[in-house]
């Protein structure tokens, strides 16, 4: 029934637009996961975060994850948009919208998508700290093939 949509973009994310694009007239709800840059990590004050992606593969992998979630939980549309480039504290790095004919399944599907994104999607980030240093954030090693 539903469809999947995934994109890696350099522009700020638009929550209202993403929700509206995900909802069909037969959906009673949407669930939006909205990931943002926070002001500290591991006790160091963060001023900005620079996201890099292997863009073509990241979009493919986001789409696969959305398809898996739709198939497993029978949700409506799922839309995942990941931002890249330089982000300030409070700006959104990822939006995951799940249209929900049935609430319970939408929660499960949304959770699945964000957990899989963090495990599998080729995206990296470099933190800028108050003291001026820049470091790649340690990440998760995907399963090989």
């Amino acid at each position: 029934m539903g469809a999947s949509y995934a994109a890696v973009v350099a522009q700020p994310l638009d929550a209202a637009r993403i929700i509206a694009d995900t909802l069909s007239p037969e959906d009673g709800a949407a669930l939006l996961f909205w990931g943002v840059v926070r002001n500290e990590n591991d006790g160091r004050a963060v001023t900005q975060l620079e996201y890099h992606a292997y863009e073509a593969m990241a979009e493919r992998e986001l789409l696969r994850i959305a398809d898996e979630a739709r198939e497993r939980w029978g949700t409506g549309d799922i839309r995942v948009v990941h931002r890249v480039g330089l982000l300030e504290v409070g700006e959104a790095s990822i939006a995951i919208a799940v249209a929900a004919p049935h609430r319970g399944e939408a929660y499960e599907a949304s959770r699945y998508v964000i957990e899989q994104v963090k495990r599998r999607v080729p995206v990296w980030k470099r933190e800028g700290y108050v003291e001026g240093a820049h470091e790649w954030v340690p990440g998760f090693t995907p399963a090989a093939g």
Partner: protein
């Protein structure tokens, strides 16, 4: 054969470039490409022995056979979301 090899994040810092065209003998596998990169006498000698690799945008094990023109990405631990 020649494979297009892509580097990201910390691996890009080691390689000093986003991508390299690497010449390999016919029949080479992912493991051979990694071995050759590590043996080149550059900072890439710090690559893990078995880094995560994607061949043509699919995660692929070290034993995966390569073909001329393949796009092989070396994927350091990911941190998206």
């Amino acid at each position: 054969m020649i494979v297009r090899t892509l580097f990201f994040a910390t691996y890009r810092d080691l390689a000093g470039t986003d991508e390299l065209a690497v010449e390999l003998p016919a029949g080479a596998r992912v493991a051979d490409l990694v071995r050759q990169l590590r043996a080149g006498g550059t900072a890439l000698s710090s690559l893990p022995e078995t880094p995560v690799v994607a061949v043509n945008m699919d995660y692929a094990p070290a034993a995966t056979a390569l073909r001329d023109g393949d796009e092989v990405a070396l994927i350091p631990p990911v941190a998206g979301g």
